[in-house]
Structures are given as structure tokens and as C-alpha cells.
Amino acid sequence: MQHKDINEDIRWAQINKDVLRSMENPRKAYWISVGICLALLSLAVIAEIYQYNVGLGPTNLNWPHMWGLYIATFIFWIGMSHSGTLLSAILHIIHADWRKPIYRFAEAMTTFTLMTAGLFPIIHLGRVWNMYWVLPYYSDRGIWPNFRSPLVWDAFAISTYLTSSALFLFIGMIPDLAICRDNTRGWKKKLYTVLSLGWRGDDRQWRNFRKTYLIMACFLIPLAVSVHSIVSSDFAMSIMPGWHVTTFPPYFVAGALYSGCAGIITLFILLRYFFRFEQYMTLPILEKTCKLTFAIAMVWTYLNLIEYSSVWYGHDTVAKELLIDKFTGPYSPYFWAMNILGSVLPFTLAFEKLRRHIPTMFAVSILLNVGMWLERWMIVSPTLAMSYEPFTHTVMWASWVQWFIVIGSFGWFGLLFLVFVKIFPSVSMYEVKEMIFHRRHLANKDIAAVMHRRSSDPQPSEGH
């Protein structure tokens, strides 16, 4: 059984070769995946064209249910986007080097899930063609967006997060793009020459790179937390029972990290299988990711129980009625499914045998995300169904238009990701080299003693 995160004897040339190989000559499976994604995406396009022309009526949204699956799926995708930040930025800061082989695709996932999530608030607008009114641009008529609205905060937060995480992904990729530049020909070489910005790996570049990367990581962590807090403000800032909950910001952040981690496991397994990255995406790293997911799942469960109990023992009768309706009402099957998938299923991650069984982990990671999607839906819909005005209590089931767009978003994300893995290295080559280098030197204590000092540390005897 493999215990080491990575084989330290792997040759550096082999790393370059393996990763560069993954970027060329798409095989049949790749084109089939692209086809499936395009098919899913076209469903969404059809539904959106129909909705654009007719109005939002065919979605089955109605006056108590002004929001539905669009907003639920929006939160779901925003949640997924927190994976990259967690895995990359936090683990970078705490010097957990096992992130190095797997952080690249997690960051790509962050960027692409944000690009998917950002579409939903736009799609759900009644007058999509006026969506730019949310942006703060100068107008002769002195009209500004309403900066009090959490939806405007969303626009600010998501655009900041998208910019920052895309830059984080890109900056972390520059040394790898230089490797690509040195190993390709033709139009690809031209592309990578431009993208690598003239990187040659000299000490000045590395020194600035190190600082920049650390600063970006430090920015991304509070940013990610603020983004999902702001998304939770869409609900927490409202006055509705079941939305007006103080614990929503941490609850949303925990849920986001949870679904993001589960998403990482899914993509980890897919990449490992299709690109034969067994050397880099090893079982011990998968295990570590699973343990992390388990820990976050328990945090999420705790916050979930806190929410139930604070409502149950509180004096807000309307909120309590809503909670009872969630337990027993028309949405209860989905509510219980969410609780079981979100809180019980993660216990499979606690067993080493199961953690090392890849098909099980693949199924579990997908089911966890199904649970997290249900969670978001269970936040949005029951409140709209059961709020203050008893006359408006009604249940809404989404029509095909909503479902097509929700399903299509997975196709859109898949398409972006598939394009990414063929153009950009999905395993960080230079950082795997770093990981191997430092682990080998750590194994040798004498060298480690010299290597892991900074220039500012007191100098040992100058004889070397």
C-alpha cells in the first residue's frame, strides 16, 4: 500500500513529459465528453432563448416563489468555487505541500464555477438586456445602482473574486507556461510565449513571484469568506423567516468549502483516471482530501444543527412553523435527503478502506454535492412557500425551463474545464518538482539544516 504522498525518485523530465502529454492529442473519450457537455449546454440555450422571448412565466415561478432553482444553483456554483481557494491558498499558507500536485485544477475549478455561477443571476432577471444597470457607471441622469442591495454586493464580490482567482490561477501558472513554451512548436509556442510573459526563472523573478503568490493567497482567503458571506446576505439581510438567520454567513462558508472539497474529489478521480496521473494524484493525497472533506462536513453539520435548534428553542413562531414544515411538509423528502446526504454520508470518509476505494469515493463525492445542491434549494424554496402571509402559502415545482438551464450549467462548466485541461497544464509541474526537491532534502537532515534557513537568520560558520 502506498503511504508516501509522492514518489520522490521520479525524474523531473518524467514530470514534464507526463503533464505535457496530457495536453496533446485528445483521445476519443475527450471528444465524447465534449459532445455530452455541448448537448447539455444546448438544452440550456434552448430554454434561455424561449424564456428570453416569452418572459419568466414558463419557468413556473410565481408571486410567492419569485426565486427558484436559478438562485439555488447560483449559490451551489458559488459554493463550488471555494474549493480552489481552500486547497490552494490556505494550504499554501500553512505549508501543506501535498496541495501541490492537485491545486491547479482546483483553482481552475474556482474560476470556471464562478463563470458558471455568475450567469445565473443574469439568467434569472426579468429584463436580462438591462443587466448592466447593476454596475456603477457614470450616467448623465445621475442614476446609480443601489449600493444597499445585497445583489449589488454580489456583483462587486463576484467580479472581485473572479478577477482575483483568475489572476491567482494565472500567476501560479506562469512558470509552467514557460515550460510549455520551451516544449511546444507552432501556434502553441506563440500562445505560450505570450502567456508566459517572458518568464525565464531568474532569481529576481522567483523572489517577486514568491512574494506575489503569498500576498495573493492572503487576499484570497478573506475574499472567499467575504464572497460567500455576501451571498448569504442575499438571504440573511432579508426579513423572511428561514432566511433572516444570523449564522448564515459561517453556515454558507462551511457549506461552500464542503461542496468545493467534494467537487475536488470528483475531478481528482476523473483526471487521475483519464490522464493517468496516478504518479501525482496519489491515494495518500486523495485520503488527505477526504479527511479534510470529512472535517468540513462535520462543521457544516454542526452549524446546520445550531440553526435548527436556535429556531426550535427560539420565540419566532413563524420561523418555527417553517422549520416544522420543512420536516414534515411537501418539501420534506428533499429536506431529509439533504440531511442524510450532507451529514450521514460523509461518515464513509472516516474509514480508511472506503477512502482508498476509488469507485466508492467517486460515488460519494457526487452524492455529497447532490446533498449540497438540495441544501441550497431547501434554503430558497420552503421560505417562499411558507412565509408570514398565510394566504400566500403555496408550493412551486420547477418546470422544464428551469431544469434545462440548471442541467445546462453543468455542461457549460464541463466544457470550460475540458478546454482548460487541453490548453493548460492541469498538474503544476514546477511545484511537483519543488515538492520532490524539498522532501528529498528533508530526508537528509544535514542538508535540510542548511536549506531551510533564510538569509535573515543568523549565519552558521561560513565554511561550507
Binding site: 456603477p136 489572476l167 500576498i215 518538482k433 533564510r454
Partner: protein, 175 residues
């Protein structure tokens, strides 16, 4: 006097480290440490030990960017709201502090990130024409020491490189 660029490629970091260490200890009189540039496939923070602390100005850019983002963000919001005074809403003040703090915070991060990027591009001297003396092996697994030298130092430096098992030496005249 003619000046030369010299690039020595080493198979591993320890050799290159030792070579620079020799230059640091003035094994070749007249060759300055400032003339040395190390090019490597991975990041070597420990290189500072022999190269000496070379400054990076990126954090200053970050600080300026963040402060600018925060203050300009708040002023922008407050002026926009004050000029759009037809808009009292929900019994809330025209300039509400809680939401402006949230948005100023986002602006702090956005401008912090953008300025950091600018600082990185300038500090790392990216987006310029690359020096022609470069080996593709560096992006693979070899460590290179690049030096800008006067003609008389070329032979002693080459000898020093060979002493440390250099694999390949390239040189060219500075135009």
C-alpha cells in the same frame, strides 16, 4: 571594453549553490555578487543565503493599492449616494455605513490584487524582451548561473564553474 554574458548550467542546485558561495567569498577577485543571476526551474528561497538579501517591492504596491482601494471605494460610494439623494430607502440613511463598509472592503481587495499584479510585473521585469542567453533545460531540471562579465574575468569564472561540475557553458557578447 567588451562585456560578455556567461551562462553556466549545473545539473543540480547544490553545485550551483557552492559555485555562488565561492564567488561570494571572493575566490575570483573583482567579480561582484551583484553580477550573478541564478535561473532555476523551481523556487529556491535558500538562494538568498549566498546571493544576499535582494529586495522585492511587491508588498509596497500591495499596501498602496489596498489603501487606495479602500478610501477611493468609500468616497466613490458616498459621493454617488449623495448625488443620488432622491433615493432614501427602507427608512435607511442616504449614506448607509454598513453596506459601504462591505463594498469598500471588496474594493480594498480588488485594488490590492491589481496593484500587486502591477508590482509583480514591474518587479520581476516581465513583459519585456527576454535575454537571448537562455537554455530550455532550465525549465526542465538544470540550474543556471548567468553573469555579466568583463573579458578578463571570463576564463577564471569558467574554471570555477568547471570545478563545480558544470554541464554546459554558453557565452555571448553584450551588444
Amino acid at each position: 571594453m567588451k562585456k560578455y554574458h556567461l551562462l553556466g548550467l549545473f545539473s543540480n542546485f547544490d553545485e550551483a549553490f557552492a559555485a555562488i558561495s565561492d564567488i561570494r567569498h571572493h575566490k575570483i577577485p573583482g567579480v561582484q555578487l551583484e553580477d550573478v543571476t541564478v535561473i532555476s526551474p523551481i523556487e529556491h528561497p535558500e538562494i538568498d543565503e549566498v546571493l544576499g538579501a535582494r529586495p522585492s517591492h511587491v508588498p509596497k504596491f500591495t499596501l498602496v493599492g489596498s489603501l487606495f482601494g479602500m478610501s477611493a471605494g468609500f468616497l466613490f460610494l458616498a459621493t454617488a449616494q449623495a448625488n443620488f439623494a432622491v433615493q432614501p430607502q427602507g427608512g435607511k440613511p442616504v449614506i448607509p455605513l454598513p453596506s459601504n463598509i462591505v463594498l469598500s472592503y471588496e474594493m480594498l481587495i480588488l485594488f490590492g490584487v491589481l496593484f500587486t499584479l502591477t508590482g509583480f510585473l514591474l518587479g520581476a521585469r516581465l513583459l519585456r524582451k527576454r535575454k537571448p542567453l537562455y537554455s530550455e533545460k532550465v525549465s526542465l531540471d538544470q540550474v543556471g548561473i548567468e553573469m555579466e562579465l568583463e573579458e578578463k574575468y571570463i576564463e577564471p569564472v569558467k574554471a570555477l564553474f568547471r570545478q563545480h561540475q558544470v554541464i554546459e557553458i554558453r557565452e555571448e557578447v553584450v551588444k
